[in-house]
Every structure is written in structure tokens, then in C-alpha cells.
Amino acid sequence: MTIRRILIANRGEIAARIIRTCRYLGIETVLAASEADRDSVPARLADRTVCIGPSRPSESYLKVGTIVQAALAVRAEAIHPGYGFLSERAALAKASEEHGVVFIGPTAEQIESVGDKLRARAAAQAAEVPVVPGGAVGSVEEAVSLARRIGFPLLVKAVGGGGGRGMKRVERAEDLPHAMQLAESEAGAAFGDARVYIERFVTRGRHVEVQVLGDGLGRVIHLGERDCSVQRRYQKLIEETPAPRLPEPLRERLHEAAVRFAAGMAYRGAGTVEFLVDLERDAFYFLEMNARIQVEHPVTEAVTGIDLVAEQIAVAAGEGLRIGQSEVTWRGHAIECRVNAEDPARDFQPSPGLARAVRWPAGEGIRVDTHIEAGARIPPFYDSLMAKIIAHGANREEALERMWQAIASTRIGGMTTNLAFHSTVLANREFQAGGVDTGFLARLLEQAPMSVEARFG
């Protein structure tokens, strides 16, 4: 089918980014905006904006019926859910299909099976993709006996959780019963699903994820990996591709495993398979699959030259995969810094407000995905992401040098942001060497809370 008009059920930088590709493709855009976003940059960029409800996400961006109704009323052939909000709710995918609107993403069934951690684990095992040693535990006795085999420290995780939510780290066997009961009751309250499972806690691991694209019929290609190990409490801060200092055979095994996993379910559209690379054991384990476009997708676009949103739309329109695996080539190195309205000096508390003078960087190899301009308000209802700065270079050194310049030339007046903190990380020798583990940022914050080290390089 031909998609001529898309309803964008999202906001912020990703809404602006989707509109850009739609314009290029000659597709009309209708932005479904909350009251707080009526006068936002994406609302101005879209061909049309409809106000779907009050600012609170539960009354606007999270209302499945309203989103589908809006798509039908404006006669949009498809809905792009972006990331977050309803992007990984099977209910939207299902309701869209039922009303003849194309959901730009995987099927409802696929969203459900990767959203349930235990089903995803089982799917990974079926595709011969290694998983972290562990498994489902229905009682304290089961947990204790499984823990004896996998060892400590371990994590108690909620089946319905994700993104770091619903997890408990347990150091010693005697703490397990209590942690397990706590995790179960918290999971029941937070996710409406009290099931938990336990996994070995990898002390030194890297977060490496693989971008895949599937046609929904069983054909899947990968677009390389991204290293997202610079994170704090599972919130990613800096991402890059290719993953630095990763042994070549391991990199290839990661790509193959991701493709096997996605092909096993005939995955449709763009998705990301996340892995934990165990530095001590030279092994990797499947973590989860994200059934949506990711925040950090631009680094992949920079090195492959492939517009992921355009490919999502092509697959949704039934065109299948327009690229073969052998046609995917990677050029240079790309890195992304997430600029957030948050205060590193106050434990990264969100700091909403009014951005006064705003100057984003520009130049060779620099891309900025943002919805913030001078005078823009960062409302307190949503996440604190203001912009993603992406630097691309012939190699990692060049990409880092360009990022350093880009961060240094960025000005955001009237707001507290994490810009200076990015400079601290970029100037850090361990980060410059490449290949840090997921504990890097926490250690950095302990030693030098807010001081910027010597000049880069």
C-alpha cells in the first residue's frame, strides 16, 4: 500500500526527526500533540497538529483509543509511535490493525513476546542465542537452589520490567529470600505481574546492542552494533559505533546472534537486540530486544548512510527490505551525546524550565537532533532529553575530536544541563582509550564529581 499521511504519536526530538524523513519522502505528517506541545517545534514542522489531550501523558500520549481515533479522523494510513509512550504497547499495534491503520513497527504478537522477559529468554534459547545463566523462580526454595548453581552476585528481575526497573542485586545467599519477596511484591505493584527470575550479575560487562531490520517474513539484516556502556543507573548517556576494542570474532558472533534471534520470530521493522558482553569470560549474553526505533539510532545512520525511519516506513508499506546484507557498508566512527535538562550536581535531577539563548553546534560530521530552540520550554511532564549531538569521523579519534568541539560550542542559556558533564567524560583517559564497562560512569562520579579534566587529547 502507499502511505501518504502518517500520524506521529510522539513528541520532542524524535517527532521532529520522523517529520524530517517524511518530508523527504513526500509523506504528509499529522502530529498528535498534548496541550503542552501544541506550540512545540515538531508542531510547527508537521503539516498539521491535532491536540489529543492534557499535558499529562496518561491523558494524551498514552491513550490508545484517542491515538487511533485521531489517525482515522485525519485519514492517516499509518501511525509512527516513535520510542517510549505507546511504541511497545501491543494494544496500540492491535487497535491500529483492527481499524485498518498501519502500525509502523512490529506485530502486536512480537511486541508481546519480546516484552515478556521470560518469553524473550526462551526465544533466545530457541534461536541458540546465549542468555545470562539463570531462570524463572516460583519460590524462595527454587531461587536458592538455582543461585547455588549460578553463583553470586546475582540479580532478581521482574518478568514485566525492563530498562533497569524492577531489578535487585543480591550479594550473599542469606539475602536472597528477602530480596526475592521484595522484588515479587514490587513487581506486582509496578507491572501488574509478580513473576520474577534470577540471573547471574556480570561484574564487568559492556552493553553492546545490534540494530536489525526485518521484513516480517523471516528475512533479517543487521546494521552493525552500538556500544552503550556509558550509562548511569541504566540510563544511557553516550553511545557509539562501532564498539571500540571489541575482538572481531566476538563482534561477528553478536551480529549473527541478533539476526538469528530476530529471524526466529520473523521480526518486522527496525529493532535492537541488546547484549551484555562479559569482559572477564569473553562471552556475551542476550539481554532483551527493543521493538522500536531507539534514541541512539543516528550513530548507525551516520556510519551506514541508511535512514532507519525511511526503512521502517518502507517495511510498513509492504515494500520489504530494500537493502541486502552485503550492501550494508560501514564508514568511519560515530558517537552520540544525549543533552539532558538535568543537574549532574544534584544526582541528575530533571531541571525543566525555559531555554533562553540556544546555540547548537554545526560543522563537518555534526548532526543535531532536537526540538529545542531559544524560547522553548521543557515541560515537567516528559523526559529531559533536549538534543542528541552526533559526531561522525573517519575514525574514533576524529569523531571524538569533533564531538569535543561540538559540545564546547553549544550554548544553552537559562537552563541546567549535563553539557559540562559530557566534557568531563570526553576528557577522561579511560573513555578515550575506549571499551569501558557499564560501571565506568558510576566510578567516574565517585572520584571526580564535577571537575573537568585536562584538555582533550
Partner: protein
């Protein structure tokens, strides 16, 4: 003497059971005209079918139905001449949610309110449909319907003005 929705339904039924196309009731200065759909009149309620054909979207970025251009609704009707009661400020009744607005309880039925109708806070002025779920919209204020802005069967956005009510002077 006031007319309730039940009275109106009763009068409508009288007309439907009769051989006439039009029925006019006059009581205590209140005049109610009921006409059959299809009868030669200018201002009957729009057919419910109108909802399936919203205006096609032009390709230019300057779309006429953007929220920034609220003038995209029907042309404003002349304000109702002020009655003997002193007219207080008007209050807008806005859409509590996005959906399809209906002025009548079902296709072909008379609208809940017309310009000039007296309303109480809890008087139903319309319905907003979201995925087959009907949400009633009430006046929220006592007064007289001064102006109806939202079209029957049209998409209304959250916060869009549906109608204006001249508030009754004595509250």
C-alpha cells in the same frame, strides 16, 4: 414553562407519527419548530453520514484545520440578540477529549441544543465519540446557547471550543 429533553422527544414522536413535515409548538413565548429530515428547510441538523467525509488534506504545510487557526470551523453565526435579562459574559464549552463530535443522540434525531436554548450546568450539549465509546458533554454553566461552533460529525481536538453560552445573570 420549560421544555425537557423528554418533552422534545415526545413532540418529535408526534411529528413522526403524523403526515406532516413540520410541527410548531408555541408556549409562553417559547417557540419550537420540528421538521422532518428531507423536508425543504435550510437549517436542519446535518446528516450523520457527513462524518465519513472530512475535507481532504491539502499538501501544503499551511493546512486550514490547524489548531492555530480556529476559524476553520463553520462561519460564526450571528450572536443571539440579548434578551430582556442582562447578558453576562459568555463561557466557552470546550471538548474534554479528542474525538468525533455529535450534536444529536443518534443520526436523524434533533440536536441536544440549538442556538437560543436554555441550558443548566448538567444539560447535555453533545457527544464525543472515541473508538465507539460515547462521552457526553455537558454545558457546565447555566445560561443560553449563544453560538455553536463545532460541526456535527467533525473531529474535535482536546480543548477546542464546541459552543458558547451566555451565562444567566443571576446565578
Amino acid at each position: 414553562m420549560t421544555l425537557t429533553a423528554k418533552d422534545v422527544a415526545e413532540i418529535t414522536r408526534l411529528l413522526e407519527d403524523s403526515a406532516f413535515d413540520e410541527l410548531t409548538v408555541e408556549l409562553d413565548g417559547l417557540k419550537l419548530s420540528v421538521r422532518r429530515a428531507g423536508a425543504a428547510v435550510a437549517s436542519g441538523p446535518p446528516e450523520r453520514e457527513a462524518r465519513s467525509a472530512p475535507a481532504p488534506q491539502p499538501r501544503s504545510p499551511a493546512t486550514p484545520r490547524s489548531h492555530r487557526e480556529p476559524a476553520s470551523g463553520p462561519p460564526p453565526r450571528p450572536e443571539v440578540a440579548s434578551s430582556s435579562e442582562a447578558v453576562a459574559a459568555t463561557q466557552e464549552v470546550t471538548a474534554p477529549l479528542l474525538g468525533t463530535f455529535y450534536r444529536a443522540p443518534k443520526p436523524g434525531a434533533p440536536p441536544f441544543v440549538e442556538v437560543g436554548a436554555a441550558v443548566e450546568e448538567d444539560t447535555i450539549i453533545g457527544i464525543i465519540e472515541v473508538m465507539k465509546l460515547m462521552n457526553t458533554v455537558r454545558a457546565g454553566v447555566r445560561g443560553t446557547v449563544a453560538d455553536i461552533l463545532a460541526e456535527d460529525g467533525a473531529l474535535v481536538e482536546y480543548g477546542q471550543t464546541l459552543l458558547r453560552i451566555s451565562k444567566a445573570a443571576s446565578a
